[in-house]
Point group: C2
Chain length 228, copies 2
């Protein structure tokens, strides 16, 4: 069956994201380090707090910022000063306000595909932040819309395909996360293309069995779509 | 033209919400009061910080919680202890985890309307939190879906009506906020029904000219729909 609709993951597929979380995590360690009871536990505690909060706070920068605040209090035994907490919130704000930086080749590739396919961005994260990045990226000239979802599971993909009016055989999802962009899509009988990114958030770690098409860059997508 | 699709606001239309923000604001004043340089400015500062953050943080409990943290630091001149900040984050967490409490008559009214109309919840706020409240409410038995949007403006309503496959004449929006649920809906030529709630968040304050149908309770909606 011919592919009609392309779902595009956003963070680390269309634009850089995880590198920002990496830098802010390093900044968290710098800022909170002087107050930590055991500085070697800084990054691990942040990760533990983040995972603990995930189920209630969800994905995205606001959730991450609240977790930084809690982790700072936890690792310092309540001794971190308010001024440092303010600086953590400011780091979160900077991450939210950071201009979108597209991955290489994204703009040209989507412009080239726009005439032949319906394209939609499907992403997790903060609703407002993802919409702002999408509209700020200029990609809305080529892509029809953005769906921000709370979880990328088989049920979500099924629901979205119904909404797009496409059968699984006519849909392909393109993204950097095997866990979110590949496995649940294969589960509903659609196709997936994996484009790994430099960093992978621990929470997204998963493997596929090697049978999934894996590209080095989104610029190889038109070739793959035309079967080349 | 006959109404086919009913859009339902969620917070303070289907379930209680603003009362929770009221109690947490009171708790903020209690917790931070002892450290405030001028305790009389507590609630005002929280409101100012919240409005300042709105454009970047958006609506919802996580945004509100981050604003409580910043406001506490601001009103105390950086003197608020980390322990108090942790208690503010815990208040936010409690607000997120609070069980849904439906307004009186909502369940029965939506059950009665379900056979005759398509119904969709249209709401602002945290994506994950609103979906959790919707599925936790049991209303997903009567209502077809939920759309969490970053802003309720004319463009959003137009986009949603296209997606629902309904003309403005076949759509009515029901909600407690004139600013979000009434004015932009009238602007796109659809109808709106206003059901005021006990509390109105300052940000949502707006007036309509009195020509908009105003009900005392959602239980009056079936009567209004049948022209009674």
């Amino acid at each position: 069956m011919t592919i009609r609709v392309i779902g595009l993951d956003a963070d680390d597929t269309l634009w850089h994201s995880e590198d920002g979380f990496h830098s802010v995590t390093a900044r968290f360690c710098e800022l909170v380090g002087p107050y930590a009871i055991d500085p070697s536990t800084l990054a691990v505690t942040l990760d533990v707090v983040e995972r603990r909060n995930m189920v209630l706070f969800g994905y995205g920068v606001k959730s991450f910022t609240l977790s930084m605040v809690e982790a700072a209090i936890e690792v310092s035994g309540g001794q971190v000063p308010a001024e440092t907490i303010q600086r953590l919130v400011d780091e979160g704000r900077t991450l939210l306000a950071r201009p979108v930086e597209l991955l290489e080749g994204v703009e040209e590739t989507l412009a080239a595909l726009a005439g032949s396919y319906h394209m939609v961005v499907i992403t997790k994260g903060d609703l407002l932040h993802q919409e702002q990045k999408f509209h700020g990226s200029g990609l809305d000239a080529h892509v029809e819309g953005i769906d921000v979802v709370s979880e990328k599971d088989a049920r979500t993909y099924s629901r979205l395909m119904v909404r797009y009016g496409v059968e699984p055989g006519g849909f392909v999802m393109v993204g950097n996360s095997v866990r979110s962009d590949v496995l649940p899509v294969l589960e509903v009988g659609a196709r997936a293309v994996h484009i790994p990114y430099e960093y992978l958030w621990g929470h997204e770690a998963a493997e596929h069995d090697g049978g999934v098409p894996t590209l080095g860059s989104i610029t190889e997508l038109p070739g793959w779509l035309s079967g080349g």
